[in-house]
Amino acid sequence: MLSQDYVFPRTVESALALLKEYGGKAIIIAGGTDLVLLEARKKETSAVLVDISHIPDLCGIREEEGWIVLGANVTHSEAAFSPLIRQKALALAIASGKVGGRQIRNIATVAGNIVAGHPAGDAAVALTALGATCVIRSPDGARRELGMPEMYAGLHVSAVDCHAELLTHIRIPAQGPGEGSSYQRMEQRKALSLPMLCVGARVAMNGKKIKSARIAIAPVGPRPQRATEAEDFLAGKTASPNVFAKAAALADKHAAFRTSAVRGSSEFRHAVLPVFVVRALEEAVARAAGA
């Protein structure tokens, strides 16, 4: 293991000042479950770890003017069990509950799931469907906000440079009356397994009529993919099995699966995807109706 220094700033400003002071030789650590593995493989060799877990401003989940706001320290366990998220951003609670095993969920963060840039990070897929945005701050005082999946810069690379800036909060438009969300995942076993296929969905309903829908699919590339043609098709339609099936076919048309020893063959996943899209829509619509 590397010879490292390890510091616990107490404010966002002091964390950013440390990143600047070390000029690229320091890196942010939150839960650390991905970072520690990168270090073990010598893919990450920063001399200083700046641990943000003692910064009170980055802890906790709150509701703020129609948004659910998660600090960068919120773990998957906290997201999975949070009454607020279960009520107003359910897809994230389900997705966070599927990450790794309980020990990983107890320390790994939702923000870290985005920053790690995994092609099918469960929380990141759900946040894409939910329409979340990420707040990023830099030492020079700049603050920018990026949506999902724009937070992805490439395979296992996010738009946040953890040596120079900090993802401070995740903002999710809170689900109101007539809105619902869902998350579906296929895996080889129910814990400690990579997803073979993930589908997140969010709908806004007006009675039986779909006002709008968002569908996110992964892993079909370096980042979660929106099924925009299916979303456009659904807008304005009356919810029915036939409509869901047509949307699922449109979503499948744009999904380019690669055959993978870990994630399954392209043919198999093409067969499963429409089933999952239908399930995700059925559940999201049922929840929008208060089921």
């Binding site: 293991m1 590397l2 010879s3 490292q4 220094d5 390890y6 616990f8 650590i29 650390g32 479950t33 520690v36 593995l37 270090e39 073990a40 770890l49 641990d51 877990s53 003692h54 910064i55 009170p56 802890c59 906790g60 989940i61 709150r62 320290n73 919120v74 366990s77 906290e78 069990f81 949070s82 009454p83 607020l84 509950g97 790794g100 095993g101 309980r102 020990q103 990983i104 969920r105 107890n106 320390i107 129910k190 814990a191 400690l192």
Partner: protein, 171 residues
């Protein structure tokens, strides 16, 4: 660079002069000679190295020692009270939930963390709490039964929504 790292370990204050980038599991086993915490995969995929940090089960193979500064850590060695076994340990023996024993400390720590927070879990909650632990011998049924039977004997009602790290309430 090595520095002094101080934390509470099984109720006693310990100070280590070590590299903060060292893994917690290596510090426990190699520096502090507490070898009850096992190493299986060292990638967070098996749960053999589970310890309880600030009330939550975590993989000690994924935690840099630096993160342990100021933390309250409990390992399998911290459970028995002199020669009196912890109820979870007793239940694992009574139910034959141990075969080769390699995964057992990790399972027991996950179970203890569950029961400290939820004294009467249902089967689904037990499975969720043990989802990060792998056993290749028993098939899990006896382990689940052991945890369910230990549940009745233990008490505790900690607020799960508080933040164990910064000390602030989360909701």
């Amino acid at each position: 660079m090595a520095k002094v790292i101080s934390f509470l370990l099984n109720g006693e204050r310990v100070e280590l002069f070590a590299d903060p980038g060292m893994l917690l599991v290596d510090a426990l086993r190699d520096e502090l000679k507490l070898t009850g915490t096992k190493i299986g995969c060292k990638t967070g995929g098996c749960g053999a190295c589970t310890v309880i940090m600030n009330g939550l089960a975590v993989n000690s193979c994924l935690i840099p020692l630096g993160k342990a500064e100021g933390a309250n850590i409990v390992t399998i060695e911290g459970l028995a009270d002199l020669d009196k076994l912890h109820p979870v340990q007793r239940a694992f023996i009574d139910h034959g939930a141990v075969q080769c024993g390699m995964c057992t400390p990790g399972f027991i720590m996950s179970a203890k963390a569950l029961l400290d927070n939820n004294p009467s879990p249902d089967r689904e909650q037990i499975r969720e709490a043990l989802s990060g632990n792998i056993c290749r011998c028993t098939g899990y049924v006896k382990i689940e039964e052991a945890v369910a039977s230990a549940a009745g004997r233990m008490h505790g009602d900690k607020n799960h929504e508080g933040c164990a790290r910064c000390g602030e309430g989360t909701q």
